[in-house]
């Protein structure tokens, strides 16, 4: 902060933020949450309230809707909401870097909504300067240009510094393969709420592989509520792939009857294939034995095995550990 302050004083006068002058008389303060909730970062001082400032075009405070999961954030929209049609009016506005300086004086730690997605929450925004004025935070938060505080970093912002995620863990120099596999979700989930884009509500994605088909699939068990539905889903997912596989094994000769044959009898052993799963203890079990909800809570992955090979396996035994 000190450096920035010096930099400020050396610039031309009009560029220096005069924060006291910016505090307007009649401005709307839109606060959506209880300001007194303390930051989860553990600071008890009032200066470390979490504030979210927004940079965006004039209009509704859409960012207020963002915080959903109860984490304490006080949301302050700086500035004045003008109607969108007013963009033609001449506006006096303060230069951006002044706003930036103010923002950097506000301690804006970000609280990731999920621990695994630290970069997804956009915490630092500044109110659009095209609004009528610029109002800093209320007096009980730290907006003092003459900072007596230790310089602290502004809240981290999504995508800054611009380093790809696989380069980021170098200091600790560890990235186990497990976290890397899950990192596919981390990198792809960019929703600032941290809501996984793939899932709806609680997604229960498990891998499902079929004998003879090299490409596995993922199914969201949360989308089904019964074994029958799961069985139909498996049929849908793999029917085409299986036919394609058979076709290529037959040297490309299309057997019309064979094409797109329905996959049935997955649950009762009557079909060509049977559904099998691996539970959280690593045991292989026949799908359908336990109540659905119990299955969903213990299943880790699913396989569609040829029924003819089932007898060779010891299923339903909690002692055997079979690699899938």
């Amino acid at each position: 902060m000190a450096t920035e302050m010096e930099g400020c004083t050396r610039k031309e006068k009009e560029a220096c933020p005069q924060l006291l002058d910016l505090i307007p008389r009649e401005r709307d303060w839109l606060v959506s949450r209880d300001i007194e909730r303390s930051s989860s970062r553990g600071s008890s001082s009032s200066e470390e309230k979490k504030l979210e400032l927004r940079l965006g075009p004039p209009g509704q405070d859409w960012s207020m809707k963002r915080e959903r999961d109860g984490k304490s954030q006080s949301l302050l929209s700086l500035g004045y909401y003008s109607s969108p049609m007013s963009s033609n009016q001449t506006q006096k506005f303060i230069s951006y870097q002044q706003q930036a300086k103010v923002a950097s004086f506000l301690h804006l730690p970000v609280t990731p909504n999920k621990a695994s997605q630290p970069w997804c929450t956009k915490a630092l925004d500044l109110q659009n300067a095209e609004n009528k004025g610029f109002s800093p935070a209320p007096a009980n938060t730290a907006v003092l240009p003459n900072t007596s505080q230790k310089r602290t970093a502004p809240a981290p912002v999504v995508g800054w510094p611009p380093i790809r995620s696989f380069r980021k863990n170098l200091a600790s120099n560890k990235s186990s393969s497990k976290s890397a596999v899950e990192s596919e979700n981390v990198v792809q989930i960019k929703d600032p709420n941290g809501k996984p884009v793939e899932t709806s509500g609680k997604g229960l994605f498990v891998k499902i592989n079929m004998d003879g088909v090299p490409i596995g699939r993922k199914v969201d068990l949360g989308a089904y509520d019964s074994y029958q539905k799961l069985s139909s889903a498996v049929d849908e997912l793999f029917r085409g792939l299986l036919a394609a596989q058979r076709e290529s094994c037959n040297g490309g000769t299309k057997n019309k009857q064979e094409e797109e044959k329905e996959i049935t009898g997955l649950l009762d052993g009557s079909g060509e294939y049977t559904l099998v799963y691996e539970d959280n203890e690593g045991d292989r079990m026949l799908v359908g034995d336990v109540p659905w909800h119990m299955f969903v809570s213990t299943v880790k992955r699913v396989r569609v095995l040829k029924s003819s090979e089932l007898s060779a396996l010891h299923l339903r035994s909690s002692k055997d550990k079979m690699p899938l």
Partner: protein, 632 residues
């Protein structure tokens, strides 16, 4: 992948050839007619009867044959574009002889149109998402799906040999279709892609029997528990290049060893971090002919202690007489650094950007690397390490210094001191990417004067809006000097505290700049205006968190059709401003994106991403994207 010259696809180049026809392109089936005002001796054979050229009774076959033979020698896409505009006959001949197709923006042209025009293509390059998607600025599922491309190409290009993709979404099914459709497929290069797993790789390697190149760079590959290495054919392979350093899954090492043993043409091998140094040794002794090596972890396997196996790593490296490019070192065990000494003096490229080493640890290596042209490293080497580089590496063309600690307020081990040292020592420098916490104008100015060959200058001062830490001034003068003195500069990324003045310099002097990256910079609309009005060659402009608004956006209307894309996120734009652009430029696809999904329609959006396209709005937009379409 290098940043390629400006014209993304020859059909788009016709937009800049805007003669008196309007709209710029006639959208009819079949090839797009070239300018009508030129006559040529050739009757259109394709049935497009809209031209008014003089016709002769028979096509001038001799001329066409000559033309086709000559055009085969034209490799530059820009030259080919120019040739295709001469007249219809040249257009057709060029289309028939183009064997490499480059699509700079997968949404600028449809697969159908591209494959209809260019019918004899052997190699295709497609680029998808904009670069800021790498930094989580774009939600997943935005698009850039390979599927429609691969399905069109499957029908149109059965002889396809090579596919290079950058920032595309690729699924396992896409890879399966690829493997099925192209019997002679030889090269697959995936840079910054995602969406598929080891299953997809398995299908490719097992079915593409002619495969020479499988390069995965900075690409995410899901672990489907499929042993894809085992899926290579059992016989001798044609493999020349196998790069999977970014694949985070364990691999079957025994299978890999056998694969290397039966791949006599293998020259480039980049291992992932699950390959230990002992395993590396075994591979190296089987493949001393390697020219490019990614060493994997460069550490012992888990559970092993040093001294358990004392392998002669030095000899293994010494045997690799052709080795010129070395990378990897994902979990480097410092004791083993001396193993690479035998190859240092031959190296032209060294990537230590995963190795957290100090200057003292670097010096014995770098002091031998006299021929080094490309060096990627972590800032853990500090300014002192950079000085060592500057002392020895007189041939250096490209330098990238990445931060160990990518946070804004971290300790800054490198600074203007390192930058200045590099500029003094490495006069041939063409490309630099430098992350630091503090910088001065003086150092940047020095670099602009010392390194006149600079083509790419990317300076990332990680603290937002940091001024010159000695003078307190904005960084305007430094970047100004770069655009002024580096006459060949085509790519620029700016940072630190920057006023509109910096942009006035860029607009005034950056006449060759094609790619510009701006973050947390500028004071007002003027900044962007300077750039849009001054940088006539600007192709790719990505801006975030800068106070540029609608007025500035409008100032680029004359130029947007010449650009590949414009990205602006968290700036001061309004929907009205974007609508104005969409209305004025019907061939521009104007996408606005919100970061939150499912919010009510409002005036607010977070990101503007717009690009020229022959196809109009795409039909695969996710929920959070809205395309502004006038008149609909």
């Amino acid at each position: 992948m290098s940043e390629d010259p400006s014209i993304p696809s020859s059909s788009s180049s016709q937009m800049s050839e805007d003669d008196d026809r309007s709209p710029p392109l006639d959208l009819i089936d079949g090839p797009i007619p070239s300018s009508k005002s030129r006559n040529c001796s050739g009757v259109s054979g394709s049935g497009v009867g809209t031209s008014v050229e003089n016709t002769v009774p028979y096509p001038d076959q001799v001329l066409e044959n000559v033309l086709e033979n000559v055009l085969c020698f034209l490799t530059s896409r820009r030259d080919r574009s120019s040739a295709s505009l001469v007249c219809k006959s040249w257009y057709r001949a060029e289309a028939l002889t183009r064997s490499e197709l480059f699509i700079g923006n997968c949404y600028a042209v449809s697969p159908r149109r591209a494959t209809a025009r260019f019918t004899r293509v052997r190699a295709v390059t497609i680029k998808g998402k904009p670069r800021f998607a790498d930094f989580n600025l774009m939600p997943a599922n935005w698009g850039a799906h390979l599927a429609p491309w691969v399905s069109s190409m499957a029908k149109a290009y059965p002889w396809l040999e090579k596919l290079c993709l950058k920032r595309m979404s690729v699924t396992d099914d896409d890879l399966a279709l690829l493997a099925e459709s192209f019997a002679g497929f030889k090269e697959l290069v995936l840079v910054c892609c995602d969406g598929f797993g080891t299953s997809g790789l398995a299908v490719v390697v097992s079915k593409c029997r002619q495969l020479r190149v499988l390069d995965l760079t900075e690409t995410e590959v899901m672990d489907d528990d499929v042993d894809w290495i085992c899926c290579f054919p059992e016989s001798q392979t044609f493999l020349e290049s196998l790069m999977f350093d970014c694949v985070e899954c364990h691999i079957n090492f025994e299978a890999l060893e056998k694969l290397v043993a039966r791949s006599p043409s293998l020259k480039k091998l980049r291992l992932n971090r699950h390959v230990s140094i002992g395993q590396l040794y075994r591979l190296m002794v089987r493949a001393p002919q390697l020219t490019h090596l990614g060493t994997g972890s460069f550490n012992l396997s888990e559970g092993m202690a040093q001294g358990d196996q004392e392998l002669d790593y030095v000899s293994a490296f010494a045997a690799c007489k052709s080795l010129v490019c070395l990378s990897g070192f994902r979990e480097i065990l410092l004791d083993y650094i001396p193993a690479i000494y035998p190859v240092c003096s031959n190296l032209t490229s060294l990537n230590l950007s995963y190795a957290n080493i100090t200057a003292e640890q670097l010096k014995p290596v770098i002091s031998q690397c006299h021929k080094l042209q490309s060096f990627w490293v972590l800032d853990s080497i500090c300014d002192e390490g950079l000085k060592a580089v500057a002392t020895t590496c007189k041939e250096l063309r490209e330098l990238r210094v990445f931060p160990v600690n990518a946070q804004e307020d971290a300790e800054g081990p490198v600074s203007e001191v390192g930058l200045e040292a590099i500029s003094e020592g490495c006069r041939k420098l063409r490309s630099i990417l430098y992350f630091c916490q503090r910088m001065t104008n003086a150092a940047v100015i020095a670099m602009s004067k010392n390194c006149s060959e600079l083509v790419v200058f990317r300076l990332c001062i990680m603290g937002r809006r940091r001024p010159d830490h000695v003078t307190g001034e904005p960084m305007d003068e430094g970047f100004g000097a770069i655009v002024m003195n580096c006459k060949k500069l085509t790519r620029l990324a700016v940072s630190g505290l920057l006023t509109d003045r910096a942009f006035s310099y860029i607009g005034k002097y950056g006449k060759l700049v094609r790619t510009l990256s701006v973050a947390f910079a500028g004071d007002s609309d003027l900044g962007l205006k300077y750039v849009l009005e001054g940088c006539h060659k600007l192709q790719k402009l990505e801006i975030r968190d800068s106070p540029f608004g609608d007025t500035a956006l409008c100032s680029g209307l004359h130029h947007y059709y010449n650009m590949r894309f414009l990205w602006m996120s968290s700036c001061s734009l309004t929907r009205q401003g974007c609508w104005a652009i969409a209305r004025e430029l019907p061939r521009l696809v104007v996408e606005v994106m919100k970061s939150n999904e499912g919010e009510e329609e409002g005036d607010n959006f977070d990101t503007l991403y717009m690009y020229r396209s022959l196809e109009g709005p795409r039909d695969d937009i996710p929920q959070f994207v809205e395309i502004l379409r006038p008149g609909i």
